[in-house]
Symmetry: C2
Subunit: 217 residues, 2 copies
């Protein structure tokens, strides 16, 4: 009932930011907020806010605005934050270890159940709450523990091969930090975090600023 039509990617990308601002409002003790107030805080149009929320069917009340707590909880539910999500780490390098250790994910219900690495010298070592296991145990553990999300922090070369392995398991989604596009069946969702792409965009901005400076005069 909650959802019928496909929601656009643009809308979904904005939901976490709404969620964040609503959390801040709760902490400030604000009980209600109008789309106009929220729009001026977030530097987006009030129209967009109302359109976005109405994709999911109207959380406000005419003449009143939105109840902050209610809106927060609804968006949380839409984002699936009312459920616990089990994860495994694949690739226990520096970045991988940092992610496992990051407590904020756990607070939101994203829990690492295991970590894997191909390096024998890392196997047995503890990171965060889990012990690093050999890659040979990967697929059986995922299926046995009904893991939802695989966090992939391995080098480019290994990523595709591992994605193929994952395709045969019950895994639902891959959070991909490897610098390649993964070939997976449609039922597996992939969310890419390409850090170097992000850094390149930054570098583009700097350079394009330089150009403007030099052209201006």
């Amino acid at each position: 009932m909650l959802e019928e039509k496909e929601i656009s990617q643009a809308v979904i990308s904005r939901l976490p930011r709404y969620y964040r601002y609503l959390q801040d409002l709760i902490e400030e003790g604000t009980e209600r907020i109008s789309s106009r107030e929220l729009s001026s805080r977030m530097h987006v149009t009030a129209s967009q806010i109302r359109q976005d929320f109405n994709n999911f069917g109207g959380f406000g009340q005419q003449g009143y605005g939105y109840n902050v707590q209610y809106l927060h909880d609804e968006i949380g539910q839409i984002l699936g934050l009312d459920q616990e999500h089990s994860m495994v780490l694949i690739g226990a390098g520096n970045l991988g270890q940092a992610l496992v250790g990051y407590m904020n994910f756990k607070r939101r219900g994203f829990v690492f159940k295991a970590a894997f690495d191909c390096k024998p010298e890392l196997v047995g070592k503890k990171v965060g709450q889990v012990v690093i296991r050999p890659m040979s145990e990967l697929t059986t553990l995922i299926d046995r523990e009904k893991i939802e999300i695989a966090v992939l922090t391995v080098p480019k070369g290994a990523a595709v091969e591992i994605a193929n392995q994952l395709s045969g398991t019950c895994i639902r989604a891959i959070w991909n930090f490897a610098h390649v596009d993964l070939p997976v069946p449609e039922r597996i969702q992939v969310e890419n975090v390409h850090l170097s792409d992000s850094l390149m965009k930054l570098s583009y901005q700097i350079r394009s600023d330089d150009m403007n400076e030099s052209t201006k005069q």
Copy 2:
């Protein structure tokens, strides 16, 4: 001369991916490629590829296609990858240390010149090629060494205060991993990497899959 009009954010976001595919093509020894071939590899339309490239003024040749090496280098230049970029790390926690240690950035010309942390017990410790310094030295070092990019991996609470400090320096851009929107003057570019936002999007996809499953029947 190279650029005049504003290039849309959508185009810029695609450039790093083009760059990556062109690198792969070079490694494969491919000398030329048509927009149609590239489009089928990358799963985008050939039209979009041609439109994107023509924002910067035509890198191809009718009847021939694009020279891979040339196109690669041009895009690299547009992204500012032909220059070295100096960076400082602010916040030497797990994630920060992982970023400093990541060699791929250095290969692309992004070089960490220093790292800072407010924790006295971390000061003096070495991460990657640099030694962690106290926060008190932050602004003077940035200006003295003409640092371009600040990599911000501090908790939410500290980020805004540090952004204010950075506003008074020669810094050009902030690569922001903190979970807040930073208030900075217009001349400073901000590129956000909100990992928990990304994870929430993944969680949304999983949940919306569930919905479809349960509604289908």
